[in-house]
């Protein structure tokens, strides 16, 4: 059986302040450049719906042109407000209006790498523990 390993896995955290002044094209370009370089990108906040669509469009345009690049995985993690009390929800809502979706995290990674991690999650746990 073919042995799979995650070589040189790197995570890159991008604070929202680093991309907030960029245009949609620049923002997507920056994120995709990191994904193509086999990095898992964690963005503070979440992209707008049209930025996500643009990210998918640009990813597809690259799939056929970059060797071994088959696309990306995208996930948004948002704080669960369902069981929170009214004041917590209101505080979160005000903070969201003032500083954007800072409570959310967007995770983007090359699909080949994410597939490896899904196959053996212990590998990433080991890497993160070190």
């Amino acid at each position: 059986m073919k042995k799979h390993s995650i070589k040189g896995l790197s995570l890159q955290v991008i604070p929202f302040s680093e991309i907030e002044h960029l245009s949609i094209s620049e923002r997507v370009k920056k994120l995709l450049a990191l994904v193509v370089a086999q990095k898992i990108v964690i963005v503070q906040g979440r992209l707008r719906a049209e930025e996500e669509a643009r990210l998918i469009e640009d990813t597809m345009a690259m799939v056929d042109h970059i060797k071994n690049f088959k696309g990306m995985e995208l996930a948004v993690i948002e704080p669960d407000m369902r069981d929170k009390d009214f004041w917590t929800k209101m505080r979160y809502s005000i903070a969201k209006r003032l500083v954007g979706e800072s409570g959310a995290l967007t995770i983007i990674g090359p699909c080949s790498l994410v597939r490896e991690i899904k196959r053996d999650p212990k590998k990433i746990e080991l890497l993160l523990a070190n």
Partner: protein, 212 residues
């Protein structure tokens, strides 16, 4: 801007001439959710001809395909639609996934290449839609980022939408999961393949057309 002008001129025309032009309705969703099966069912019911081929292999639809002047009658009312069936939207395409379905390597690579173009085409056509039916596979997890991105884009563009939980004939299908994932939107459970609950679908489609 151009879209706004087009919409105004369409509304003026229908006001002056007392007729509603055809409504452009897009069928969007992830691959293999049954968009073409549903579009085929509608087109076959009302025009006698199907719109495209269906297959178990994902990304069978790799170009936007449409049928104009589809006249649908429901409870004494008639509406005319332009049915736009779009390729499934995904964030990744791996030709090796097609090999598992018995597709030859060369054909799989070609299919993957066309599928990437199809996804781009789907997203670009979104701008032209007046209403959208988002087709989801009721037997799959609805909380996928692609589903959220599609619905988020429709909301951002103020395009009215209807959610269809397809494949309810399957044992694993769970329409409640789809409703729980997107509680703000109407959800109709159907089986496009078996023709189940199509009356409810047409009812919801006419309600959607009212929002245009």
């Amino acid at each position: 801007m151009l879209r706004i002008l087009k919409n105004i001129s369409r509304k003026l025309l229908s006001t002056f001439f007392g007729r509603k032009e055809e409504i452009r309705i897009g069928f969007y969703g992830p691959p293999n959710a049954g968009k073409t099966s549903l579009a085929n069912r509608i087109c076959k019911d009302w025009t006698g001809a199907e719109i495209g081929q269906v297959s178990k292999v994902p990304h069978e639809t790799r170009h936007v395909q449409f049928k104009e002047k589809v006249e649908i009658k429901h409870k004494g009312k008639t509406l005319t639609f332009k049915i736009v069936d779009t390729p499934g939207i995904a964030t990744k395409i791996d030709y090796e996934d097609f090999l598992r379905f018995g597709v030859k390597r060369g054909a799989a690579k070609k299919r993957a290449k066309e599928a990437t173009q199809g996804i781009i085409e789907s997203i670009q056509w979104l701008e032209d839609m007046e209403a959208v039916v988002v087709v989801l596979d009721a037997s799959e997890n609805p909380y996928s980022q692609v589903n959220i991105t599609i619905i988020g884009n429709l909301v951002a563009r103020k395009i009215p939408l209807l959610l269809v939980a397809n494949k309810i004939d399957l044992k694993k299908a769970d329409i409640k999961k789809v409703q729980a994932a997107f509680p703000e939107y109407p959800v109709v459970g159907i089986s496009a393949r078996e023709g189940l609950h199509m009356e409810e679908f047409y009812e919801a489609l006419f309600a959607l057309a009212k929002k245009v």
